[in-house]
């Protein structure tokens, strides 16, 4: 059952992503609207698949790489839908659905067996930590997407190229707004995720911080976003520099995410 929904999701996300990408080069608003409908339908299927998986295993499907990738993708699409509602920037989909789709494809390539839950994960702190971490990852993915859009749009403006892509993309101000909003949502989430993660670590292995690669990379991610937020609030960092840092933050975040599995042996 959850497999059916999973593959339906995969199909819908693929069509939506394709729609969003073609939308960038073709001048048809209808395409953007349809891509948005597809992505929402896909999200519902994805949610059902996840819920089904949750009810059959009794815990959130985030205990191995296959499940986590799918959950990451779910979180990205979920927050994209919310951001799209608020800011009405259709082209955001062209930059955010591709990573979500790639994660889902990667997830589908991995084995799906449900294993017995290892005792180390049987802690409420773990679930709390993981949920917040995924939420922050999703908002930072949106931030990275807008940063890429910002750099493209700025490139057009500086090179004085006013093609159809330039017309499609939103104003620099809007992109900066979305970016900042992502930062102010994502950063507190990440902070609490790291704190709850260390509490869980204390419960599981006996100390709050053991400098394992996972914790170290999390900390690096946190510092990058902290620097970005600090720069923004104190001297008004924005534009190109902020966009580049936001992209760097996302790359480090991906390393943290992929490195997760190897840090704790279960």
């Amino acid at each position: 059952m959850s497999q059916i929904f999973f593959y339906a999701t995969l199909g819908l996300y693929s069509c939506a992503t394709l729609g969003y990408l073609i939308f960038l080069i073709r001048s048809s608003n209808a395409l953007g609207i349809w891509a948005n409908r597809l992505v929402i339908t896909g999200f519902i299927a994805h949610l059902l698949s996840t819920i089904h998986r949750f009810s059959s295993s009794g815990h959130l499907p985030i205990t191995n790489m296959q499940e986590s990738l799918s959950f990451f993708s779910l979180a990205i699409i979920g927050s994209f839908i919310l951001f799209e509602r608020k800011y009405k920037v259709i082209t955001l989909g062209s930059f955010v659905t591709p990573p979500a789709l790639l994660m889902l494809i990667a997830s589908s390539a991995l084995p799906t067996e449900i294993k017995q839950l290892p005792p180390i994960l049987q802690s409420n702190w773990f679930w709390f930590h993981a949920l917040l971490a995924f939420a922050s990852y999703a908002t930072f993915t949106i931030a990275c997407g807008t940063a890429v859009m910002y750099l493209i749009q700025q490139h057009f403006l500086k090179k004085k190229r006013f093609g159809s892509l330039f017309q499609k993309l939103p104003s620099l101000e809007t992109l900066d707004d979305i970016s900042y909003r992502c930062l102010t949502i994502g950063f507190p989430l990440l902070t609490v995720a790291i704190i709850s993660g260390s509490i869980w670590s204390e419960q599981a292995v006996g100390n709050y911080w053991n400098w394992d690669p996972k914790q170290t990379w999390s900390l690096i991610t946190w510092f990058i976003y902290a620097a970005l937020l600090h720069g923004r609030l104190t001297i008004g960092w924005r534009g190109r520099r902020a966009a580049l840092l936001s992209i760097l933050g996302f790359i480090v975040l991906l390393i943290t995410f992929i490195g997760m599995k190897h840090s704790i042996k279960w």
């Binding site: 004085k160 006013f162 104003s171 620099l172 008004g236 534009g239």
Partner: protein, 433 residues
């Protein structure tokens, strides 16, 4: 009944000719009356703008009508017909309909997609309606033209892009600064284009304006005009950080704003982006300003490029518009040809006969001891009854012959008895309204 168009436009006549044949809106009643008094002309309407002068009319005699209107134009404006004629174009029937639809949709305008022409035609139609020179056909025709123009406007993006430099500047600023309602404009120097751009920015919702000029009095005067504030030229850099949009066109022989200045100003603004437009020749703003982070400098040439690209885009959209017009011509033409007398009489007879037959067979079916002889007499009765009823309207319709009156009768008949064509058209009209 046929629709004919006689006219000239920026495409066929120079401004010297156009101004000679223009009709003044204040004195339009006499030419309108003279027009419909012409032999064979039933309804008439005069469109007169700075780019075109056109006469729309209905007639039964296409060739005669056209030549009489040509002579009317020449005589009314006291121009020899030989001088005027080479500039005139004429259309009739389907081509006349297409022409008027294209003009109303702004496809025939000097700047394709400019919105004024529709309003001008509406005004011209207003005069014709006021002085009763238009009748049932031109009324319907012009309303159709307005709805076609509206369709073109909403279904194509013919008018969606900026085709003036000042407007392109506003569009560009929005791509950087987003909403302009909390943004401030700084106007350096004076100059027609700069002031026009400033006006456009204020119309698009810009929050306020500062004006500076080497002669402070001039700055004050301009500031007053825009209800902004005047800034002394020497104090420019003390105020520049407050401006999001900078428009510059001074007569200075060298640049007055350099990259170093802008770097300082941008830092002072906490890196909020700035939008510069340099209209001056030689330049007021060092081109290197564009290399400063969060500062965006554009010249008139850049804006001109946008305008050119938008014009090209418009002509692509125009093709879509032509398709829409082709669809609409067919519909209108169908209604127009339905106004002929003979097909209407035939349709009316058919309708009556249908009713007669239906009622007769219903009565006969429920009448048990009806002999074939009696049935024949019954049928004869219904036929003579129907013929008597139709006799007067048919003769009158034929006698009414040609003229505005007969169209009115025919149209009324078609609507009252729901004779085809009229039915479709009236449904459509309801939808539009």
């Amino acid at each position: 009944m046929n629709i004919i168009v006689v006219g000239l436009s920026h495409k066929t006549a120079s401004v010297e000719i156009r101004e000679k044949v223009a009709f003044s809106p204040n004195l339009i009643d006499k030419p309108l009356r003279d027009l419909v008094a012409l032999d064979g002309i039933v309804e008439g309407l005069i469109v007169s703008t700075c780019n075109r002068v056109e006469i729309y009319a209905t007639t039964h005699d296409i060739a005669g009508g056209i030549s009489r209107i040509k002579r009317f134009m020449a005589e009314h404006h006291h121009i020899p017909l030989e001088v005027l004629e080479p500039h005139l174009y004429t259309y009739h029937s389907e081509n006349a309909i297409r022409h008027v639809f294209r003009v109303a949709s702004s496809l025939d305008s000097m700047v394709v997609g400019e919105p004024q022409i529709l309003g001008q035609i509406k005004t011209s139609y207003g005069y014709a309606a006021e002085y009763k020179s238009s009748g049932i056909i031109l009324n319907r025709f012009l309303h159709k033209a307005f709805s076609v123009a509206k369709r073109v406007r909403t279904e194509t993006r013919i008018a969606s892009s900026a085709v003036s430099v000042a407007f392109a500047a506003v569009e560009l600023a929005k791509k950087i600064l987003g909403d302009l309602s909390d943004k401030t404009v700084m106007l350096i120097g004076a100059g027609e284009m700069c002031e026009l751009a400033a006006k456009h920015f204020l119309n698009s919702g810009a929050h306020g304006i500062m004006v500076t000029n080497r002669t402070f009095e001039r700055a004050e005067r301009l500031a007053e005009e825009f209800s902004g504030s005047a800034v002394r030229f020497e104090e420019l850099f003390e105020h520049l950080h407050k401006a999001d949009i900078v428009l510059s066109s001074t007569g200075a022989p060298h640049t007055i704003i350099g990259p170093k200045d802008v770097e300082d100003v941008v830092r002072k603004r906490r890196f909020k982006p700035m939008f510069f437009i340099d209209i001056a020749v030689p330049r007021d703003i060092d081109p290197k300003v564009d290399d400063v982070e969060n500062a965006y400098l554009f010249t008139v040439d850049n804006l001109q490029e946008i305008v050119q690209a938008n014009l090209a885009k418009r002509s692509r959209e125009a093709e879509k518009a032509e398709e829409i017009i082709n669809q609409e011509i067919g519909q209108f033409y169908k209604w127009l040809s339905s106004l002929e007398v003979t097909p209407t009489i035939v349709a009316l007879r058919t309708r009556f006969d249908e009713i007669r037959k239906a009622e007769l067979s219903r009565t006969a079916a429920g009448w048990k001891d009806l002999t074939p002889e009696e049935e024949k007499r019954l049928e004869a009765l219904t036929i003579s009854f129907m013929n008597k009823l139709l006799h007067t309207p048919t003769t009158l319709l034929k006698q009414a012959g040609q003229g505005g009156r007969v169209d009115l009768y025919v149209d009324a008949l078609r609507q009252l008895f729901e004779l085809e064509a009229a039915r479709e058209e009236s449904e459509e009209l309801e939808l539009e309204q």
